[in-house]
Amino acid sequence: MEDSDKILDELTTTEYKYGFVSDIEQDILAKGLNEDVVRFISAKKNEPEWLLEWRLKAYRHWLTMVEPTWENVHYPKIDYQSYHYYASPKVKPQLASMDEVDPEIRKTFDKLGISLVEQMRLAGVAVDAVLDSVSVVTTFKDKLRELGIIFCSMSEAVKEHPELVKKYMGSVVPSTDNYFAALNTAVFSDGSFVYVPKGVRCPMELSTYFRINAANTGQFERTLIVADEGSYVSYLEGCTAPMRDENQLHAAVVELVAHDNSEIKYSTVQNWYPGDKDGKGGIFNFVTKRGICSGVNSKISWTQVETGSAITWKYPSVILKGDNSIGEFYSVAVTNNMQQADTGTKMIHIGKNTKSRIVSKGISAGSSQNSYRGLVRINKKATNAQNFSQCDSLLMTDHCGAHTFPYIEVNNTSAKVEHEATTSKIGEDILFYCNQRGIGNEEAVNLIVNGYCKEVFNQLPMEFAVEAQKLLAISLEGSVG
């Protein structure tokens, strides 16, 4: 017991490993939000008229909306006027090679352990690095272009592929969808755009590293991925952020569109600053993620490993519209100290023979609160729809909490819906079994937790799986009571 207390103590006092501020000259808009700010952002990015109109419409609608209150997380009231809504590095680069990248920015990436050069050479990952709000460098672009794959920043896409952006942006998450989606639509700064043409299988994992850098800038990213008929794409998203005292709001929107016979795989490792051990500071991660399987036999798979953020509040969802389409959701959510998470998924079955699978693993430690909230809806015409959900929670201390709120709505007789959930701490008998065989407490917990999360980690691409395991080890090592 004393041992584990010591470990716990060490763990809870461990400082956020990736916390630092990089010193790059930034172009920051004064705090506050009004129509002029929306116009300013749009003008700054040389956006076409329709996009400005769309932003303004969303902004006006946002003004009429009320912040939701049903969630199982608590946070001080957000003052939306106290944020900067635009920040971009002063040196606006149009770069062809790595040499032209600002050395300060390159140093930042080096500190994060994302060596662009290394990644380009060794991993074969094309990285669209987003530092705060403007994309600074895009690699492997030429190689992707050969195949007709578009992978660029959102602002670039608006300029070069307006017809695609106009067609798909807002088609999955309408500008009026929810409070935070409307806010995002009004003030989104940049993001990533991916289009995979008919019959193309994207040969590499596409990846973006998000960073929140300038103090007090809410980051409003917007990602749109479109997979045309018979195509395949795997997209990775990873996050780290510097240490900060005031809360930072992050309200991103991610939209996925899968046409006939296509597949999109979206993986996230999220490790934003969770606040200190008293819950001071930390990121508010209020994200709207939704995909639509609009074509037959299409598939969307979400995988997420959530270890960071003071509050994680998001439900990556799939609308299964096309017949025989498949939706998957794999999640590991770890909360420690004062962190709060309310996360899960929504599977909306509309088409015939649609299938969905949900595997959610929650781990609560410290004084954290971890909730799973999920919806499985089988619409009346969704004949032979199938769902399987499993959400397990692991409790590490006697003052943390684990909650599950699954919603099941079935309106078709032929549907098969199964839901299972368990909550427990690590069994004393299992620990005893390990101890007996000469495995120390800490090592045993590691083994058990890793085994517990394996089903989700297996879904991650190789590079991410390693990072995820490392994160888990940092967050939880030996934290059993």
Partner: protein
């Protein structure tokens, strides 16, 4: 954002005035105020998302008469046939008992609530309204404000009944739009044992709404077997509806098995709360619901583990036919100090028609770490393999369906532990599903 409450004017003016007069009593004043404050929940209210009340509330014409209403011949006939026949019976019409007391033994009292106020004032004072809180609970508040009479059962220390106690509640809906209030208080003292059956029926086809509140207190080492049966369409389609809020309180080493069988009713809402108020309690909640044409059956349960070392098991099954809607919302709450809690919950549903609907929301809220909790929910149709197995053995489609459906219900019905009652419900299910 839309409002979570319906305005009180959803009730017609005359009715509201009538209610207000009835509630004029210092004891009831605070409940009435709480009711006015909370108003009726709309479908925007999280706990009432799938159970719209507006239309039902609009249909209420008046509050049931405080005078005795005689039973119709039909009602008499049904009552005579209700299982368990060999039991101590008390009959209520619109929440009001037709006799003041039923003789059981010196140790066990079965009385009307009014009579009990004379004979057991201390016990009533100690327990009445203690657990059925009126704050933010509209229907509890309205119930407490308008309670006129009801049933009181008291079991003395170590007492035991030889026969079940049977509460038969008749919802007299021969007149359109009757609103009635009913209240039940059961106190089982240390080591007492009882088997209680409560059956709700209606006598006609018109709309009526009963607001029922019940408190069941199970003291240390006491054991209660409770079977609640709601069947309003025994005489043909009935619009009778009920909102039933119950609080079961389990003290140290006590035991309660609560089984709810909802056979029919235009709108049935059961709020069953089981509170573990001391260590080593054991609670079982079983339920079976069969909504069919234009029926909505909503089971909301809360198992509240406030103390360590308790065990709870919840198992609800639904069979949805025609355009029947089933709602299951089960919450297991394990509070901070409730270590070594074992809590299980299972909800299984059978959808037998394309128009039927089901909304299930099993929830776990856990604030302690040394616990074993699980829940499961499924929805589907009859197993094709099992159907094929039976058909291959020369059993006709209807017969096979009947066998499998009854087998599905059996898990819950076996809990009735009374052969006559079990057989009667089996027969009702066959009739209801018109096999």
């Amino acid at each position: 954002m839309s409002k979570q409450v319906l305005d009180i004017p959803v009730l017609n003016k005359k009715l509201f005035a009538q209610m207000q007069t009835l509630a004029q009593n210092p004891l009831r004043d605070s409940s009435w105020k709480n009711f006015l404050q909370s108003g009726f929940p709309s479908v925007k209210h999280e706990e009432w998302r799938f159970t719209p009340l507006e239309n039902s509330l609009k249909k209420i014409q008046k509050v049931s008469s405080p005078d005795f209403v005689s039973l119709s011949d039909d009602a008499e006939k049904i009552i005579a046939s209700l299982e368990p026949i060999d039991a101590y019976r008390i009959i209520l019409v619109n929440g009001k008992p037709i006799s003041n007391s039923v003789k059981i033994s010196d140790e066990i009292s079965l009385l009307s609530l009014k009579e009990a106020q004379k004979n057991f004032p201390e016990i009533i004072k100690e327990h009445f309204g203690k657990y059925l809180t009126t704050e933010k609970e509209t229907f509890n508040a309205l119930n407490t404000a308008l309670t006129n009479d009801g049933v009181f059962i008291h079991l003395k220390k170590n007492s035991q009944t030889e026969k079940p106690i049977h509460i038969i509640s008749v919802h007299d809906n021969r007149e359109e739009g009757i609103y009635s209030t009913s209240r039940i208080l059961i106190v089982a003292e240390e080591g007492a044992k009882a088997h209680i059956v409560e059956t709700h029926i209606s006598t006609a086809e018109k709309f009526s709404l009963q607001n029922l509140g019940a408190e069941i207190i199970v003291k240390p080492n006491a054991r209660i077997e409770y079977h609640l049966i709601q069947h309003f369409s025994l005489l043909g389609k009935s619009e009778a509806s009920v909102i039933d809020s119950r609080q079961v309180v389990l003290e140290k080493d006590s035991f309660c098995n609560f089984t709810t069988v909802s056979m029919s009713g235009a709108l049935i809402r059961n709020n069953l709360h089981m509170l573990f108020n001391a260590q080593n309690g054991e609670g079982h909640l079983y339920g079976l619901y069969l909504p069919s044409k234009n029926e909505l059956i909503d089971n909301h349960s809360l198992v509240d583990h406030a103390m360590p070392n308790c065990f709870s098991n919840e198992f609800y099954k639904g069979i949805m036919t025609e355009n029947g809607k089933g709602v299951f919302n089960g919450k297991i709450m394990v509070r901070k100090d409730a270590q070594k809690t074992n809590a299980y919950q299972n909800n299984r549903n059978l959808l037998l028609s394309d128009d039927a609907g089901l909304n299930a929301k099993p929830q776990l809220e856990i604030f302690a770490d040394d616990v074993k909790c699980s829940h499961g929910a499924t929805s589907g149709q009859l197993d094709e393999d099992a159907m094929f197995y039976l058909r291959a053995r020369g059993i006709g489609e209807f017969e096979a369906k009947k066998l499998l459906t009854l087998a599905f219900a059996e898990d819950v019905l076996v809990q009735t532990k009374h052969e006559g009652l079990h057989n009667q419900i089996d027969k009702w299910i066959e009739e209801k599903l018109s096999f």
